[in-house]
Symmetry: C2
Subunit: 434 residues, 2 copies
Amino acid sequence: MKKVGIGIVGFGTVGAGVAEGLIANADLLARRCGTCAELRAVADLDITTDRGVDVPAALLTTDSMGLVKRPDIDVVVELIGGCGVAYDIVRTALENGKSVVTANKKLLAEKGEELYALARERGADLYFGASVGGGIPIVRSLRDGLVANEITAIYGILNGTCNYILTRMAREGADFDTVLADAQRLGYAEANPSLDIDGYDTAHKISILTSLAYGVTVPFDRITVEGIRGLSQTDVRYADEMGYAIKLIATCRERGGALEVRVNPTLVPKHHMLASVSDVFNAVMVTGTMTGDTLYYGKGAGRAATASAVISDIVSVARHVAAGIPRTTEPFVPVAESRYRLLAPEECESRYYLRLMVREACGMVGRFATILGDHGVSIFAASQHEPTDAQREAGYVPVVILTQPAKTGALMDALRKITEAGIVQSMPLALCVL
Amino acid sequence: MKKVGIGIVGFGTVGAGVAEGLIANADLLARRCGTCAELRAVADLDITTDRGVDVPAALLTTDSMGLVKRPDIDVVVELIGGCGVAYDIVRTALENGKSVVTANKKLLAEKGEELYALARERGADLYFGASVGGGIPIVRSLRDGLVANEITAIYGILNGTCNYILTRMAREGADFDTVLADAQRLGYAEANPSLDIDGYDTAHKISILTSLAYGVTVPFDRITVEGIRGLSQTDVRYADEMGYAIKLIATCRERGGALEVRVNPTLVPKHHMLASVSDVFNAVMVTGTMTGDTLYYGKGAGRAATASAVISDIVSVARHVAAGIPRTTEPFVPVAESRYRLLAPEECESRYYLRLMVREACGMVGRFATILGDHGVSIFAASQHEPTDAQREAGYVPVVILTQPAKTGALMDALRKITEAGIVQSMPLALCVL
């Protein structure tokens, strides 16, 4: 059985999990795959702290660049994160014709185009199954399982922190700030939670799925990103009453050569599979021209789940190395040079949930309905809720509207007009509806 | 780019879909995979009926065995079904060192052991991604995506016909016979529906998933199979009231080296992802030691979904052929020769839903509860329902019980004792609870 040399750079939580898995399950992996992926080195600045993993001391090194260049290392596993040292490591490995496995979504979202091209040029593999969805084999399913399909849509719950917060807000009726503080205390959210709750982590991930589905790279600043910060309990409750759950949904859709890539808090019908995804779990629904809807669900983060995905990649890459062939894939080209056109935010289309504080006066509902209609926005359902005492004193009543699919730009224009006309107390809230 | 010759045997619904996909998407597939899977022949007894697919007449032949032996055919795609001609074709192809792609679950469940061994011996691939779950890449996920995991449990909804019937019974309150007749009229169920509704199709599929997860083959007659025939609206309604949906669930679990493989109508908690799987959709939940719970969902049948899975296999196999290496996998050994022990039906363990018609007399509830307890069966929840007029006249009242996990054998003994003691009108109904 051929032996392939594996080197891990980054001995943190995931790195330790991968090292442990490779050592403990060496027989299982070799039996299942016919190739022996042999761990030959682990590099980290800190190689003295006990990670609770039984890695032979001789394998540990502080010289990560030395590891990358060692002739007996065939596959470099980058688990540092970020775009600094990690970028140098991955770039050097590929330049030396070595295959790379990484879980670094930021690196791929920001430097992917260059790195994919370099891998292709040098005949090396660049695998990144753990970068999206943790232990869920979604990257692999898009690359292989759905290979016969053109992808028409991807909808994903890709951030466990956000889903945990939204699940608890719905289940307990708690406020966003209360649940966030709790999540931080429990270690489900960072001290600086912006990357998660403002949607950037989700955007990195949908950017990677877009590359896989359409063979294009999308400039990160062209993805519309709305997070869940400050989502109110009022909206969670109204959504629930109408039969919807609110989830942070990453969308990537294709219609007639136009791509729509965005991240929004979204009302999902309760009978939809994505509405059942609770707590820190992730899920991705992928619609293919042949398969129709398919869905992939599991833990999107955590040491063991992420290590599972990394090891699965290591094994695949090791098989290619043993056979002397890389997995040649379609190169990802910048979307501007592709056959796809990236829609601007205002060109996107969605059903919308609107919450308006309407001035309590005769004819007001008619006026805003008319303005919506003038902008091509049709009302699908509407309900007026009982005002609180404060709202009644201020002279406004809460109205909730579900629209038919509408262009985002037209809708926003309509809402601005409605606000300027003094029909509502302030700019109405608009949330997407799946 | 290397060209690999593909021959399809069986030009039925799926065969036509695969031929169409290979021809129409040739460029897409080659671009995505770096190998050209070229359709070179299609064999069927009937090559004159119009399948609505534009296959060049020169490719069509009635000589399927001749196709298999042609030197320019590298990969044989068997889409005949059954264990007769299909078996001869697959066997001959493998004997000639040709890789095989098949969607034939019956063949694999009944002859898999022999065919897997033959493929391994001749250095050929035997791929069968379309045999379970149609367009859902579940076979591929078990083989590759979850390769780092020991699998602890698989729970699947694997038959679209059963799930359609159960969904409509729950949604509309209709009787089993009425919905079955409807399903037959709509083409969702065969004129002879036994293979589907009696659970055999599901058993074939869980047998294949068991092989993939544990590397063993299980004698088909050792799988306990209960179908959904005659499931009553009463139970669907009681289950609903208690917060459960009834689904036909295939189970494969491992506990301490013992394997439990069975098919049963099962009460699934409504908050469980599997409870949200409606209509003809399939889903499989796989629990791995590293990933925890993962779930795969999609259309389990139909021309396009099945063709998608077949083409995905063809492309993978073609890549291996082009590279000159088969995908060597762990051989499947008979379970009796493996490190696993197959549990007998009475050794299985489950929570149970029991419906009893209890004689209306003082002390009856106490007596059956005592007998359950004597057999190690603990009651988790119980409710007595209002009897119908007929039940009241006969002197019996309906009681529903949910148990804690209990051994199937002990439970059945208890139920027989309760029946023999005249406490109930007839042998109580027992359904598994997930």
